[in-house]
């Protein structure tokens, strides 16, 4: 295998893991409420801005800034639940989905207002900003994010299988009314889901922010993870990670094809062709649970 391809693949894995992280945040909300969150990208952005702000404003070590960011995101998630989602409990899912679109517009402009529209460089957080893996120079944050992804993934897997809240989330997603009849507080479930999801997205936001600088454009990531989560199966944590990896690899492979074959632009749309193909073969993604259709 030539070095070029190898490097592309390594990069694919690294970026794919990041897609996976955002994908997991996405899946979490879906699992709790069957809501597709269009504001996921804004969560990324909020996380990145908050972390950037605490670091530049107070000049504190990265770890603290990062922790403050996580706490902030948690509060934000709960707040969204209280203000926006609670009144919508029991309403059609599509309304909630649309609300997330409204939220995305709202946050985007709020952040533009507060932080301006110019990209801001992130303070340097690692002594050595990049390291070499298989001949490819890789940003250290990317490497960090890989470890974080694996940890988050394990935590999620446990959460849904074994924890009481995880179980309650799945029940809520399946049948809100029945869940309530069991004494599950739908509000609590939503708050938890959104808070955790916001925190996890923030992790990705910070990583992307460190690499690219923080600007409103980061929120585009929210749309990019769609193919990843669908590919893996909307309700599968593992699927999100695998889907993310596939998309990451595919993008980079397509870049290889782009150079050789000059079809142009394959990097961007190859994931979508793959998406349709895979869904035609497996309509619930690779790991998604199929609906039970009994009459």
């Amino acid at each position: 295998m030539d070095a070029f391809l190898l490097q592309l693949l390594v990069n694919g894995v690294i970026v794919g893991m990041l897609y996976g992280v955002v994908g997991m945040a996405f899946v979490l909300i879906y699992k709790a409420s069957q809501v597709v969150n269009f504001a996921q990208g804004e969560f990324l952005l909020i996380g990145a801005w908050v972390c950037w702000w605490t670091l530049t404003e107070f000049d504190i070590p990265f770890v603290f800034g990062f922790l403050i960011t996580l706490v902030f995101m948690f509060v934000l998630g709960v707040l969204i639940q209280v203000v926006v989602l609670r009144p919508l409990i029991g309403e059609p899912i599509i309304s909630v989905i649309m609300v997330t679109i409204g939220l995305s517009i709202f946050f985007q402009s709020l952040l533009n207002w507060m932080f301006g529209v110019f990209a801001q460089p992130f303070p340097r957080i690692f002594e050595t900003p990049s390291m070499e893996i298989f001949g490819l120079q890789v940003q250290t944050v990317y490497v960090m994010s890989m470890f974080v992804s694996v940890a988050i993934m394990a935590a999620f897997a446990w959460f849904f299988k074994a924890s009481k809240t995880g179980l309650a989330m799945r029940a809520t997603a399946f049948d809100q009314q029945a869940a309530q009849s069991l004494g599950i507080s739908v509000r609590h479930v939503f708050a938890t889901a959104w808070a955790i999801s916001a925190m996890v997205s923030a992790v990705a936001g910070v990583v992307v922010g460190v690499v690219n600088g923080v600007s409103s454009a980061l929120s585009f990531f929210g749309i990019k993870v769609f193919p990843a989560v669908i590919l893996g199966g909307l309700d599968s944590i593992i699927g999100a990670v695998v889907g993310g990896l596939i998309i990451g690899l595919l993008e980079n492979l397509a870049a290889y094809v782009d150079v050789d074959l000059q079809w142009g632009n394959m990097q961007r749309i190859a994931p979508f062709y793959a998406l349709i193909l895979i869904l035609m073969i497996k309509p619930y993604g690779l790991f998604g649970t199929r609906d039970i259709e009994r009459v």
Partner: protein, 407 residues
Amino acid sequence: EIPVGHIVDFTGATSGVGVSFGSGIADAMNWINANGGIDGDTLAFETYDYAYQAPRAVSTYRRWVAQDHIVAVQGWGTADTEALAEFVARDEIPYWSASYSGALTDPNGTGPRSTKAAPYNFFYGPSYSDGCRALVQWASEDWAARGEDGAPTFVHMGDNHPYPNAPKEACGEYAEELGFEVLPAINYTLAPGDFTPQCLTLKEIGADYAFLANTAGSGISLMTACATVGVETQFMTNVWGFDENAMRAAGEAADGTVFVVRTGTVWGDDAPGMETVRAISDASSRPGEYRLVHYITGICSAFYMKEAMEWAHENGGVTGPNIRQGMYAMSAANDGAWVPVGLEGVCLPSGWTAEDHRGLMTARIYRGHVNGSTEGQEIAELINSGTISLEFLEEITLERRPEWIGY
């Protein structure tokens, strides 16, 4: 009162450069009003932020025409400018835009590669195609100066969208003409993302010169990624692809990038006209601020309109057709190109004729230098401390080839 429309993008996809340019125009028009207006008449303008959504620009334009009876527009993006081109022609309303698409330079649509007639469209600055041609010309000189053998390689990089694509073919042709080997274009999205694959590709194909046709946002990502990967290509960007802010955001990764400046000066330079520019900035709501290159360009755009209006005022009244006539008359009266009063040395002499709307065939080539960390500091501080600096390389004036009109 002279009703004028002002379309800006302060919050949309291109706001990264839009704020600076739009503020320049607005501040200039306010300053004009405060300093005697157009022979006593004030410019009644409304700044409309259309958030880069063309239909919104169109509907606002219609509102202006219907309710405010505007006589001129200062506009912004590619899609909206092109969408409005036919309207302004019909309504006879001169339209200055920040879209420098070559397609807008042919008032009669007669050029061999023209796609349409745009009789009422103007812009201040070299067209995208001409800007890129100038860069290519610089590159070929640079190559010669480096003394390396063989044909240099050139690659166009950008999203597959009208704006980045606008100069692609025209510039590629010129590069070939100058002896470059033109490599197949590389695609990268307008929205920033992970551009490592593109950088690896650049490295793989060993491009010597790359023209970045997107806006600064994605350019920053690209440069950062390429710096990590260790790409040695010389980056060149179009007018919207690079500025002081991009240098600050990209940090050292942006070091060495070459780009086009449309004005005779950048902030901090001295020229007779800079006094006016500083006065305009000081009279604005944010005095004392460091202003990007786009701000100054915006001022020029507003002042060309101003002088054309003054001509119209003296020659039958400030109407759309008269303003347009003013643009031609002012040019003709000054040997084909002129600089608005008060902006000497700032705006480059530009001229328009009824046959040719290529106002400016000159591009000033700059190189950006970044030597050190830029985080946590304002642009002014960075400039003062010398962490970032703009180095003027060369002023290139292209020949006004007839076959290039509208292309």
